[in-house]
Symmetry: C2
């Protein structure tokens, strides 16, 4: 009905929209790993199907229908990630890749079966919220760990799933959703953060720390 390629484009547009407002063709092409011309072509097709609105040279916006489709794919993806981790014992750095392929082929029944088996979960292993069946999504905005100041404490809520290598690195160190953390030090000039979690402390570059979202506890120095 809707091709795999179309689903992938819609998902990519959704994610870009989430971050940076308007979505340019080149950003979309970049995200999809295709040439800019290919993205233009697909955007025109999606616009023809009323899944996106396209104003040439201005960017792409998902329509209501397009957003719904994107969220359905994302729901599949995140449920699968969680299922692979929980039920099959996948390590959290490997779930993304497998889910990426499975998300396009599972039936609604499969979706429902794993949803129930997992106890109607709300978040995937990286802390990303799972869209509901009716394609609604509760987004909680948390601070980047890299934005916290020394002395701040909080709980990790999300870790970006974009880089498997990084996930492996953080997983080994216990820096996963629900872990409590405290910022001990923050070196100047975009230097690394020293973060304590449990008994041990870790030194994290700004780049990595910006991929970790934390729910900060109210600081007492107010």
């Amino acid at each position: 009905m809707f091709s795999q390629a179309m689903q992938d484009y819609l998902k990519a547009i959704y994610k870009l929209q989430e971050q940076g407002g308007t979505v340019s063709t080149s950003a979309l092409a970049e995200a999809m790993g295709v040439a800019a011309a290919s993205a233009t072509g697909m955007v025109k097709k999606l616009a023809g199907l009323k899944l996106v609105r396209h104003h040439p040279y201005q960017g792409v916006v998902l329509s209501k229908a397009g957003e719904k489709m994107a969220l359905e794919v994302i729901r599949h993806h995140r449920l699968l990630e969680l299922y692979l981790a929980e039920a099959l014992g996948y390590s959290w750095d490997k779930v993304h890749e497998e889910a990426e392929r499975l998300e396009h082929v599972i039936s609604e029944e499969f979706e429902e079966k794993i949803f129930q088996a997992l106890g109607r979960p709300t978040h995937d292993p990286h802390g990303d919220p799972i869209p509901a069946k009716d394609a609604t999504l509760v987004v909680a905005e948390h601070d980047r760990l890299s934005d916290l100041e020394p002395g701040a404490t909080g709980v990790i809520r999300q870790v970006s799933d974009s880089d498997a290598e990084m996930l492996r690195y953080l997983g080994i160190r216990g820096l996963v959703p629900d872990a409590a953390v405290e910022v001990l030090d923050k070196a100047p000039f975009n230097g690394p953060l020293t973060v304590k979690s449990g008994e041990t402390s870790h030194v994290l570059g700004r780049e990595v720390a910006s991929h970790i979202r934390v729910e900060a506890r109210a600081t007492d120095d107010a």
Copy 2:
């Protein structure tokens, strides 16, 4: 690497070969639900890749490599069928369709994970043997239920998974692998069989009964 279409063709060739010796292009096209010309085209491509041998107007035969590929896909399929039934509670008439799509996208890791989770099984829910990792397959030839004579007893070993409707019908009646059966009566002129399983007896048409494979117990009237 090898496209989904190619995998499906190889699988179809394997199954046709299993049944009827040489595989004609038209039989292949029929099985794949495509025009004969399309099958010819794909066969030529597969022959170019040394996955099949093709003698025009004579039929197609899988090469060693082609058979291996086919068995790998079938292994995926049957493991998935069993996993869907056992782990996710799918009814056995629905597993085929879902497995059909999943078989092409799961990784070797996924395969291994479900293989272990299922306790290294040897047969799928329909009683079909699951090819081993090294692409070897133990085939046990059992009698068609329709070939047994009144008085014969045995155990159901396989039920053809080709028709979901039929599987539902038989499942309700407990005519599943490992069920003990006894042929009470066999009407002449290709008439129905009366079969007892457990406490109840069922009347089955020849067509249906031919889709059930039974391991016959030695009869005592010898």
